[in-house]
Amino acid sequence: MKDGWEVVIGLEIHAQLSTETKIFCGCSTHVGDEPNANTCPVCLGLPGALPVLNRRAVELGARAALSLGLRINETSIFSRKNYFYPDLPKGYQISQYDRPFSERGVLEIMTATRDEGGHAREWRPLTVRVTRLHLEEDAGKNVHEGLPETERYSYVDLNRAGTPLAEIVTEPDFRTSWEAYDYVNHVRKALQWVGASDADMEKGNLRCEANVSVRRVGDERFGTKVELKNLNSVRFMQRAIEFEIERQVNTLEAGGRLTQETRLWDDRAGETRVMRSKEEAHDYRYFPEPDLPPLTVSAEFIEGVRRSMPELPDARHRRFMEEYGLTFEDASTLTRELTLADFYERAAKAAANPRGAANWLKGELLRELDAAGVGADASPVSPEELGALVRAIDGGKISGKQGKEVLVEMFSTGKGAADVIEERGLAQVSDAGEIERIIGDVLAANQQQVEHYRAGKEGLFGFFVGQVMKASKGKANPKVVNELLKAKLSE
């Protein structure tokens, strides 16, 4: 950011709610079916067809709203947003306008300053005002390429039309592209965590738009706002905002003027380009949807949703640090996903050693899982078996080094810790009688060295340990060997 300038950013996120069916009809939301297969009179906008609200969409919307600190309105109203475009067969989108599903959220997120490589340096909390989250239907898809005569025609697939969306809008509370980046990641994680949305930007079930303007430091008024679209990943969004800040500041410093417009990010070219200017902007003429009654949700319903939600990521992160003594970084890693956090808590309990379980999970098992592209919920090593492995190490049955090999085999074969240790014959011998017998043999075979040792050549101790370990094929517990050997030699 150039000195003397400040950037103001507000964000809009559209997240697809994870329902089986569309928001106002029973057509499947499944992606990848043949074009227009999942359509009916309602989502095709045929005359006389009436929308009926999907209860699950309301419940997931409530989960999303609560996970972002929003207040749910007991009554909200669906409105028609009117515009004409081929992907919108009715000529309007059913959305919400002046009485949205939820409003006035205050969300605390963590944001970091970044070095030039984009690596987080220092984390600090940032309060974001979430203006609203409302429910609406998605539009269909226009296809402009890959079909005959696309220079003359566009093609429309309405399978997506009517898919439930939550639109989440913030106040212009971000002052850097990285704050916006951290916010979108926070929202993604929260929505996935509570099961409201898959929130996968690459699959298009989370889309975001950024409103960016710049002003001189100290200026109270906002500058001319530019809307950025086609931000297909969080990183694209961050880059697009950076580009846009520079473009706007340079234009203004050169004495130019900015136009209020929509610009698209072209990642290959690394720049934003005008899509349309606001002069031709639409007048949506919102009015209440006469085909749907107001949406009312009771206080009991909201409370029920709240109770059914898992402990949110931030709360869990804090608890992992306080209850299990984990570091900030370890707690962050282990609360990356809900399934991983659940996995960890079960493993910690099974291991009776929370720090040990954390080390083995994040250091070893997570690496295997990530390499295999498998989530914690599909891990071939169960939390209980990871716990059993940690216990075997803590109890001196196997060494830490052996533990790593055992874990790799557990992962590839799905066998339990005890089975692998047994099959590989790895179990350390800690039995004093067994070790004493070996020591007796070793000392008997090395009479001369024993005399030297007893005469003061204490450096020979390591030699005896080595011989005993060798005789036990490496299985003797070194700690027990040390103790017994010392006792035996000083007899």
Partner: protein
Amino acid sequence: MPITESDIKKIATLAHLEITDEELRALTPQIASIVAYVEQLNELDTSRVEPATGGLTPEGERTDVSRDDMVRPSLGQSLALEQAPEPSHGHFRVPKVLTGSHESENF
């Protein structure tokens, strides 16, 4: 508020309709009279009346009209496209839409 020719022009633009000056002169008084007719409702004092947003009686509004998240049979591609003027390759085909984006223009 009286309806003027510029209102009609704007509505036509929003609806992607091209209208001639002749049509504009004919339509303006027609639409103006329709609006004036409906505006008679403004004579009523509705300050103490709750807006009937869904077009339903209070009893109707209390009726649960939501549904479970259960898939019901869709029309399928061929039936969905049967009434379309120019279906092609499983799609509705329309005159070229100019846009820089492959996503919906508005959101």
